[in-house]
């Protein structure tokens, strides 16, 4: 579908601040402005003036990222909000995302698998029959790992599978995952709280998803609220085919990448970003008095 791809690319370019289009615009303006401002008379500039003149230092002052917020059920665009570029315009680093997802997966493993070694199996340690004279192979007790009902040799035992990841890398992974969603236009920021009326049925939420093209044919959606809201969560769980809902504390990097898009409360997004930007604050430590 080259047509739809191209349209999306165009949308993406025009939306992102400081994108290609805005850059081109300024260039054309500069090209036009220069010949107009030049005076007809030729002015001789003194060479000393050229030498002593201070060269202006180039200042890299990128514009912040602009995102639109919406009101929840109606999905009307409300206003623009700005975020720093190192929050929502991080370059995609698949290696960092991979490390974060593996780290979370390791941490989530229960590690409770447990088997019994021959000492742990219930039973006597009595020798089954005499060492010699029976004509049969020599044996010890019933609990030997080579016998049925015996212990398990080299079986699993409870252990901790969790691995480590430097906090700064994990923080980066969060911002990279959110930036990935933002750049693809899959980060929908809700200005108010995501709520439904008290007597709402799953039908309402299905209709909302159908109208906004958020459902299963469009790759499902993840709703993220700032606070857990039991009735809303229950309603959304009933249409789990189309959506999944999490509160901010439950979200992992993997959840951000899983479904087609994120529908996130602005407050939740702000808190996630502020929690995961500790690596950006690099002021030297000072003595406190």
């Amino acid at each position: 579908m080259p047509g739809s791809d191209a349209f999306r690319a165009l949308k993406w370019l025009s939306r992102s601040s400081g994108g290609l289009l805005s850059g081109a615009e300024t260039t054309t303006q500069r090209c036009l402005a220069k010949p107009l401002s030049r005076s007809m008379a030729t002015e001789a500039q003194s060479p000393i003036d050229n030498l002593t003149r201070e060269v202006p230092k180039p200042v890299w002052n990128p514009e912040p990222v602009k995102a639109t917020t919406y009101s929840f059920p109606s999905m009307e665009p409300l206003r623009f909000v700005e975020y720093p570029r190192n929050h929502l315009l991080m370059p995609l680093r698949k290696d960092i995302l991979h490390r974060a997802v593996v780290y979370e997966g390791d941490m989530t493993r229960q590690g409770t698998a447990s088997t019994k070694w021959r000492d742990d199996v219930h039973g006597s340690g009595r020798k089954l029959y005499a060492q010699k004279g029976t004509g049969r192979a020599r044996v010890g007790d019933k609990k030997s790992p080579i016998r049925r009902g015996g212990g398990v040799a080299f079986g699993p035992h409870p252990r901790d599978f969790s691995t480590g990841l430097p906090q700064k890398i994990y923080d980066q992974a969060w911002r990279i995952a959110l930036s990935y969603r933002y750049k693809r236009g899959q980060l929908i920021i809700v200005d108010n709280e995501i709520t439904l009326p008290e007597d709402a049925t799953p039908h309402l939420i299905t209709e909302i998803f159908k109208a906004n093209r958020w459902g299963r044919p469009f790759g499902r959606s993840t709703l993220i609220t700032d606070q857990p809201n039991e009735s809303l969560f229950e309603t959304v769980r009933q249409v789990g085919e189309h959506a999944k809902i999490l509160d901010r504390r439950d979200v992992d990097v993997k959840d951000l990448l899983e479904t087609g898009r994120l529908i996130i409360e602005k407050q939740a997004l702000d808190r996630i970003l502020s929690q995961h930007s500790k690596d950006l604050k690099n002021k030297p430590a000072k003595a406190l008095y």
Binding site: M1, P2, G3, S4, D5, A6, R8, A9, L10, W12, L13, K94, D95, L97, H98, R99, V101, Y180, R184, P217, F218, G219, K254, L257, E258, P284, A285, K286, A287, L288, Y289
Partner: protein, 312 residues
């Protein structure tokens, strides 16, 4: 699939056939490769596991890197085993060891302190103690105390310092100090006081449960007027009772009980906080008494009165 840029204008592009248009209408969503399926670490960031005994092409196939025949091929050889000859450790005995009685101190040099002051991370007008040094990350970790060293002091051929590292007077309280560091600080008009710390005391100082230097045996003669002046404003008003009452500390800072520690902090050469306890002519040692005390203990010697015709 990430969005592709359409660089050519629409007229110049290859016209799309009817079937592609139809399919694009029939299936409105594009099914992209999911990002979770394409995540991987940079290939150079990890090593592939060596699979031993998996054929000649693996390079570790036939003998799995264990060579031919013998105990090493089949299992383990005991550490230190010398082929049946008396092991080295039996012939020559054990060597080396760890001094469990050593005090593990964090070294801190004067040039580093000056650099921290220049950066505004330490206030030179207030006492510099283990708390300030650790909070500003001037020392990485206060182990069992801090030792002040005099790096950065330039000396001439006769080991006499010619320039100062310090640009302003500073008042320090540390566990120990080298003589060069003491000389450099005092030349700049500041003061060094050494005092006793333990590991747990430092942990509590860092939690602000303990005063960084005032203890039961600390009194106004323990440190120079400069240190106390910067802390209290009025001279010598800082006592342990006052500190506990007014500053709300939970614990008392301990004083030394070991002979060696007491002797170190009684020494005026170390600028110890107990050096004011020394009597006139007395040394820091607890074993040798002062000459004054020795005389009085021996009692008053009788003056021999000789008759006039005797010389002795």
């Amino acid at each position: 699939m990430p969005p592709r840029l359409q660089l050519l204008p629409f007229q110049w592009q290859r016209p799309s056939t009817l079937s592609t248009i139809l399919t694009s209408f029939l299936h409105p969503q594009s099914r992209n490769a999911h990002i979770l399926a394409s995540l991987s670490d940079t290939p150079g960031a990890y090593n592939k596991r060596i699979r031993r005994g998996r054929g000649p092409a693996s390079g570790k196939g036939k003998t799995s890197g264990r060579g031919h025949k013998g105990q090493k091929q089949h299992g383990k050889v005991p550490a230190g085993f010398n082929g049946g000859q008396t092991p080295d450790i039996v012939v020559h005995g054990e060597r080396g060891g760890v001094n469990v009685h050593a005090t593990d101190l964090a070294p801190i040099n004067l040039d580093r302190i000056q650099s921290w002051i220049d950066q505004g991370r330490i206030d030179a007008t207030r006492p510099i103690t283990v708390r300030e040094l650790t909070q500003s990350r001037c020392i990485h970790q206060p182990k069992e105390g801090v030792k002040l060293l005099g790096r950065g002091v330039e000396k001439d051929d006769h080991e006499i310092p010619i320039s100062s590292v310090l640009k302003q007077p500073i008042h320090l309280v540390v566990s120990r100090a080298s003589s060069a560091a003491i000389a450099a600080v005092e030349a700049a008009g500041g003061s060094v006081t050494t005092r006793f710390y333990t590991k747990s005391a430092i942990a509590r100082i860092m939690r602000r449960e303990m005063h960084p230097f005032v203890s039961m045996q600390w009194n106004k003669e323990s440190a120079s007027a400069g240190l106390l002046g910067t802390e209290t404003g009025e001279q010598g008003a800082l006592t342990e009772a006052m500190v506990m009452r007014e500053m709300g500390f939970k614990y008392r800072l301990p004083d030394p009980t070991k002979r060696r520690d007491i002797e170190y902090y009684r020494d005026p050469a170390h600028r110890g906080y107990l050096s004011h306890l020394l009597k006139p002519l007395e040394g820091p040692s607890l074993f040798f008494r002062s000459p004054v005390e020795r005389k009085s203990a021996a009692g008053v010697k009788k003056e021999k009165i000789l008759p006039e015709n005797r010389l002795w």
